[in-house]
């Protein structure tokens, strides 16, 4: 208690930023905090890095022979698989957002944040920002492992980077859905289940692993309109540098863009609103 003087002088010399700058600064601190968590959470490291690598290798060498036969001539399975598995992995990766937020609520750190004079949206913004960085890292890992099994950015690096950008943007919109789940369940275990279960039909009934025309007709209806299919197809087009027969860049990217904007426009305000009341 001898340092009272030090404390009060220090108090006088700092001031909270205001307006947008405050939101930005606070979100950055929270994002830093969430990123520091990554290497300290072993199961997250496994989910983030080991699982996609394992999936690529398994699918390429176990299913590649069989599924590859259903592909149009000249298309290698690796070329087909990597964009698909990128959507699948990123979408699965978003469930960590729900789990992390549920954990934060459960152990009281959210109460700590809420008792501080910081901007109301910073906790969620910061988490989404950190998740975006995490998803970008996962996408990059997938491209690297893809190059090992024969995947190439056939349309050039520019379109390749755009492919990663689209994948991360879609993943980020899904993160907003996950924040809603994370805040509405009572604990991290429930968040794990609630954030995960529906991702199986969402990603498997799509063009991620197999071409849609190989599925029963009734399932094709869902598969064709599934945003995951739309994203996977766009990523494939970007990776090879040409659109699917019968479509244009606009017809392929506009639905994806609308899905990303639509999901975010609905889920983000809902989440921020929920956070204010939590």
């Amino acid at each position: 208690m001898s340092d009272t003087a030090t404390v009060s002088t220090e108090t006088a010399t700092y001031r909270r930023p205001s307006g947008l700058n405050a939101i930005y600064q606070d979100s950055r601190v929270i994002a830093w905090r969430n990123l520091v968590h990554l290497p300290r959470t072993p199961q997250l490291v496994i989910f983030t890095l080991i699982q996609p690598i394992m999936f690529v290798l398994l699918f390429t060498y176990v299913f590649g022979g069989a599924i590859g036969k259903a592909l149009p001539p000249g298309v290698s399975y690796a070329q087909f698989l990597i964009p698909g598995i990128m959507v699948q992995t990123l979408v699965f990766g978003t469930s960590a957002t729900a789990v992390g937020l549920a954990e934060d609520l459960q152990n009281g750190i959210i109460d700590r944040f809420r008792s501080l004079p910081i901007s109301r949206s910073a906790v969620l913004n910061g988490r989404i920002l950190a998740d975006m960085i995490r998803l970008t890292a996962v996408a990059t890992v997938l491209v690297v492992i893809g190059y090992v099994v024969g995947f190439r950015f056939q349309g050039g690096l520019g379109l390749g980077l755009l492919m990663i950008l689209v994948a991360v943007a879609f993943g980020t919109s899904m993160c907003w859905i996950m924040t809603n789940i994370g805040m509405r369940v009572k604990d991290a275990e429930t968040a794990q289940t609630a954030g995960f279960v529906w991702l199986f039909p969402l990603t498997f009934i799509s063009s991620v692993f197999t071409p849609v025309y190989t599925m029963p007709a009734w399932l094709q209806v869902f598969a064709r309109n599934n945003p995951v299919t739309l994203v996977a197809n766009l990523l494939r087009a970007l990776s090879v540098g040409e659109v699917l027969p019968g479509s244009t860049w606009v017809s392929m990217s506009l639905p994806v863009f609308l899905w990303i904007v639509g999901i975010t426009a609905v889920a983000a305000p809902l989440a921020v609103n929920r956070y204010r009341q939590a």
Binding site: M1, D3, T4, T6, V7, S8, E10, T11, T13, Y14, R15, R16, P17, Q25, D26, V29, I30, W32, R33, V36, H37, R40, T41, N107, G108, I109, D111, R112, F113, R114, S115, L116, P117, I118
Partner: protein, 340 residues
């Protein structure tokens, strides 16, 4: 000077549960108010409303003259909150937690760093500064939690059951820290279910039960209602008991000497006069009487509750934390061994 905390007719319900049913109290600047009550009495709800975490259904609460509902952010910049369970980031190190909060309060990274260093040193956490909080002991965790809530040098500090689940050493350590903070001018609102904790720290105590204030006063005023401490002496035979009662009669100035033939127990009211207890024992020895056992009995919160409400606290007690030795808590018989 107006009270720094003013709570008026606060109501908060969760479904059918009326956690707060018209609570009013005030806390003077620089003092310690103990909010005492069993689990489920509404203590934590009151703190959550004051810390702007929960909006009241009805009534007003002001901290530092600021309304917790309409001026929440201004309130947040003058308060610190330490919860029942350590609300720090367990995956971060102690130092990282402190720096994070410093940054969120608007400090530069240099300022946040030096503030963290000061607090780590003060809370004896320098050695553990770069270890993840997961590896901390219960006492260290509570200390880092308290340190985190002090980063912004708050005027008002809310301590929500700060020693629940702590071992006796960590407990008295936390008490000492709290006293230092108060000496520095910090106003403290402390919730506790331990009478002795409120006794040790609080200038005034507000007893709440089922969402309502049922009593208010200093620790001494509360204890007066329950008779204070008594010396209990146990004998082998009723003959010894009778002669001991004769020896001790002169000591009971107020006539508060009770004889329990069934348990061969003699109870002498001594309040805070421990010297009286010592003299009483010495007198018995001089008279050639040797007690089988003796101890100081302090009123438990149960006793206080019985005195105040006429009902015990068992119905309110839910999943209370583990009992701590020597700690007055519901359901404990709460005797203090003098001879062990």
């Amino acid at each position: 000077m107006p009270p720094i905390i003013e709570v008026e007719n606060l109501h908060k319900s969760f479904g059918d549960t009326h956690a707060l049913a018209g609570v009013s109290f005030q806390v003077e600047r620089g003092s310690v108010l103990g909010l005492l009550g069993p689990n489920g009495a509404g203590k934590t709800t009151a703190v959550r409303v004051l810390a702007t975490l929960l909006a009241p259904d009805q009534g007003t609460a002001r901290v530092g003259g600021l309304d917790v509902s309409t001026q929440a952010n201004a309130v947040r910049s003058i308060i610190g909150l330490t919860g029942q369970y350590a609300a720090v980031d367990e995956k971060l190190t102690g130092a990282e937690n402190l720096r994070m909060v410093g940054r969120l309060l608007g400090m530069s990274s240099t300022q946040a760093r030096s503030r963290a260093t000061v607090l780590l040193e003060r809370f004896d956490l320098t050695d553990a500064a770069d270890r993840q909080v997961t590896t901390y002991s219960g006492g260290m965790r509570r200390r880092v939690d308290l340190a985190v809530s002090l980063v912004g040098s708050p005027e008002v500090l809310f301590l929500d059951e700060p020693t629940t689940g702590l071992d006796p050493a960590s407990r008295s350590e936390l008490w000492a820290i709290t006293r230092e903070l108060v000496a520095d001018g910090t106003t403290v609102l402390l919730t506790t279910q331990y009478l002795d904790e409120a006794d040790e720290l609080a200038d005034r105590i507000v007893v709440i039960d089922q969402g309502q204030v049922i009593e208010e006063g200093t620790a001494d005023e509360l204890k007066d209602r329950t008779g204070g401490r008594s010396l209990e002496i146990e004998f082998e035979t009723t003959a010894e008991l009778a002669s001991a009662a004769a020896v001790l009669r002169p000591f009971s100035a107020k006539g508060e000497l009770q004889q329990n033939e069934q348990d061969c127990l003699l109870s002498l009211s001594v309040d805070s006069d421990t010297a009286l207890a010592v003299r009483a024992i010495a007198a018995l020895t001089d008279a050639g009487l040797s007690p089988a056992d003796f101890r100081l009995h302090r009123p438990s919160l149960d006793d206080v509750f019985m005195a105040l409400t006429g009902h015990g606290t068992e119905t309110e007690e839910q999943e209370g934390p583990d009992s701590i030795p020597g700690n007055a808590k519901f359901g404990d018989t709460n005797t203090e061994a003098m001879n062990s």
